[in-house]
Amino acid sequence: MSDEKQESPGAGAEASETPAAPEATAVKRPKLVPVKKAVPVKAPSAPADEGVTRRGLFSALGLGWLTFVGASGAFLAASTRFLFPNVRYEPPSSFRAGLPSDYAVGAVEERFKAQYGVWIVRNQEGMYVLSTVCTHLGCTPNWLAAEQKFKCPCHGSGFRMSGINFEGPAPRPLERYAISLADDGQVLIDKSRLFQEEKGQWKDPASFLRL
């Protein structure tokens, strides 16, 4: 403990770079011995007319430390920000996926799984797009047509064709992406807009294409 006390005033004075620095080192030594002795030693070495009082010295030290901590914090924040680049080189988020008539009713289209990470499902009422990212830990589930479910190989989560989770550890349903019809009649998928069932977002008309 005494080591720290001994160091802090000196280091603080250096950080603040005030002219008080020489006095600070003078103060440093007496502080090791009991305070009663320190006072008479210190008094002659720092006469009042030089303008450095004990209170002034300590507030300068305090300011110095504050600056030091602030600067360190700012540097840490800047370093953290450095981990996040301003530009990401990732595939574009929206694409066209052919005409609705290309899709068989009641089937899961796996054609876009590899490139875009989506399943497109067509049912009686219309179409929707499911993300291929398992909501448990982000593995890619497999569509098991025989059992009519998506099954994740990592921890065994299972999802129905609708994307609703029903078995295994997945905490919530698969996410859906925005789907609409483009001017040329093709299905347009926008992966930048997510819809989560548990937040009631599947009721959003953009999450489902009525046909």
């Binding site: 996040f84 080189y89 830990l137 990592c154």
Partner: protein
């Protein structure tokens, strides 16, 4: 007689004497000097308790862990000569390593050494616990040891991605996806939804702790580079510093543990 003559020629010259400041360690005085005058041996005191050299007491697992760390450093540096940490080349370079480079067990030594190091470091901790060697005055060194254990696992884990094959990719996908669920810092962690200005979330897939680790929203080229740098520079450096502390504190806290 011939032997002693050879020794004489070998040792009684200015070059030898400039390196070794002691005579042959055949008496007590020189046995002490050999340890004291060598920076590496100076890791040890000159004398230890007899229990400290008994294998059934120490299991030697801490020492082996350090040795395997050195093996990993050497083989790792050699491997770096042939490896480019980009999505384009990483896998090819590893394949080429097996086919085009002589002494084709360097990657094997590195990989099996890594596995062995995980085991030895666990067993070292196990021994230290069973002998109660974490008790005063060694509490702090036990803490340093726990951090070193974590660093060993992280070293092994970051290295797992570098071959850039299916095994690597998915093990790391599963491993890093846990970071998504970090409370407040991960975009699917509890509390993250609370950190928002109006409707704009502050913590999303492009700004959470997992992104910082991967340099992207999924395991891709950015993750490969970051893991490479962590694996080759950042974590080994941190581990080396902590090892220095660990060994120094072993000495300062009374040497290889034994009953007080």
């Amino acid at each position: 007689m011939a032997r002693s003559k050879v020794m004489k020629v070998l040792t009684e010259n200015p070059v030898w004497r400039s390196v070794f400041r002691h005579k042959m360690p055949s008496d007590d005085r020189n046995r002490v000097l050999v340890v004291l005058s060598n920076v590496f041996l100076h890791l040890h005191p000159t004398k230890v308790r007899k229990s400290g050299v008994r294998l059934s007491y120490t299991w030697c697992m801490g020492g082996l862990t350090f040795f395997i760390f050195l093996v990993e450093s050497v083989t790792g540096i050699l491997l770096m000569f042939y490896y480019r940490p980009t999505a384009e080349f990483a896998f090819e370079d590893i394949q080429a390593l097996g086919a085009h480079v002589p002494l084709g067990i360097m990657r094997e030594l590195h990989r099996w050494g890594a596995h062995a190091m995980v085991i030895t470091v666990w067993l070292h901790m196990f021994r230290v616990f069973l002998t109660g060697s974490y008790k005063p005055p060694r509490e702090f060194n036990w803490n340093v040891g726990v951090i070193l254990l974590v660093l060993t696992l992280l070293l092994s884990f970051t290295g797992y991605l570098l071959p850039w094959d299916q095994l690597a990719m998915w093990a790391v996908t599963v491993g890093t996806n846990m970071a998504r669920a970090t409370p407040f810092l991960g975009n699917e962690g509890p509390g993250a939804a609370l950190l928002a200005i109006g409707d704009t979330p502050l913590v999303h897939a492009g700004s959470d702790v997992r992104f910082a680790l991967l340099g992207g929203r999924f395991v891709a080229a950015g993750a490969l580079l970051r893991f490479y740098v962590l694996h080759c520079i950042a974590i080994p450096l941190a581990a080396a510093v902590l090892m220095a502390v660990h060994f120094w504190r072993v000495r300062k806290d009374g040497g290889i543990s034994g009953p007080l």
